[in-house]
């Protein structure tokens, strides 16, 4: 043995236990998910309840967790000055809804939550989101409220400085499916294929 003080192994053991517990936790979480072969995304074996939140809809009215109840919703986090992945995703979602419509299936509410509420006022969100589809909903609010919801759902984001005072936002571009009880039911990682997504949604929303 080395001349390490006697107490040294204890925190090390504690750390090892903590790491193991974390690994076990991750494994349990991972194994708890079911992804039927037919589904391109990840379906949570146990839908996860969302916390209460208070955001503002693009028409200026409040929007909270209860507004997610009694219908299916797809949440996407982005920002209106996002040139590539956000318009791509919103057009993918428009095509997805068109596919659902042609199958006579239920339309989920499509919701864009901005991670850039500093620039994305309700007015800005209204002009932007309704351009893609008049039924799409844009949510903004206080930065802390937007980030709290993003954190709860598991959305990563980072603000990246550009030239001058410009900045961009790195962000999770996954789609989060919320069930009519307001719980996170499934998630889909990009890139998205509208036909595949429409099929998966019908499978899950049955």
């Amino acid at each position: 043995m080395s001349d390490t003080p006697d107490l040294q192994p204890i925190p090390r053991l504690g750390l090892a236990v903590a790491v193991l517990a974390a690994v076990a936790g991750v494994l349990t979480w991972t194994l708890g998910q079911t992804s039927p072969a037919a589904i391109s995304g990840t379906v949570l074996a146990q839908p996860r309840a969302l916390p209460e939140f208070a955001l503002t809809q693009h028409d200026g009215t409040p929007f909270g967790r209860s507004d997610l109840e009694d219908h299916w919703s797809i949440l996407f986090f982005g920002f209106t000055q996002c040139p590539d992945i956000c318009p791509t995703t919103l057009f993918d979602l428009r095509r997805t809804l068109a596919a659902l419509d042609s199958d006579g299936a239920t339309r989920p509410m499509v919701i864009l939550v901005t991670l850039d509420p500093m620039r994305d006022t309700p007015e800005e969100m209204a002009t932007y989101i309704t351009y893609f589809d008049p039924e799409f909903v844009g949510l903004t609010g206080e930065l802390v409220d937007v980030q709290t919801l993003a954190n709860e759902i598991g959305v990563a984001y980072a603000y990246i400085a550009g030239d001058g005072d410009s900045y961009s936002v790195d962000h999770t571009a996954s789609l989060f499916l919320i069930d009519p009880q307001g719980r996170l039911a499934a998630l889909f990682n990009p890139p998205h294929d509208a036909a595949v997504l429409a099929g998966d949604l019908q499978e899950i929303m049955r």
Binding site: Q81, P83, D84, I85, F91, T127, Y131, A156
Partner: protein, 141 residues
């Protein structure tokens, strides 16, 4: 075999003049998504074919039509999209650089009022040469 030219209007041959070994680029496609009128930052997707005998090394893009133009690349890892400036892009002779959603794009900031008008874009090459073109972006969702 020659690639299909989707848009004859934009099938412009761009030659870096003055270079002993020419980097020759053909724009075989150029498109942009429709966007709300207030959108200031958009992505255009070009497909550039190197018809020359030497590699084309593009280091920057400029345009008087916009407040700023830059080449960017989006990468998606574990579902997280990150967009960064791209300071060097190589196109080997005979190869095509296909810009596409979720990948390389030309980021345009400060759209002119008539976004559908032809735009002038200059691509800066590593050897100091610049190749300039006027192109019309096809609008596709």
């Amino acid at each position: 075999m020659r690639r299909t030219v989707n848009q004859p209007l934009i099938a412009l041959l761009l030659i870096a003049t003055g270079a002993a070994q020419a980097c020759e680029l053909v724009v075989i496609d150029a498109w942009i998504r429709p966007a709300p009128p207030t959108t200031q930052t958009r992505a255009a997707y070009l497909s550039l074919e190197n018809n020359g005998t030497s590699v084309c090394r593009i280091t920057a893009a400029t345009s008087a039509s916009f407040r700023s133009v830059s080449l960017h690349r989006t990468t998606i890892v574990d579902g997280i999209a990150r967009m960064r400036p791209l300071n060097n892009t190589e196109i080997e002779p005979g190869e095509v650089l296909a810009m596409e959603p979720g990948g390389i794009h030309l980021m345009l900031t400060g759209m002119p009022s008539d976004a559908l008008a032809p735009i002038r874009v200059a691509l800066q090459l590593e050897d100091g040469a610049s190749i300039e073109t006027e192109l019309r972006l096809e609008v596709r969702p």
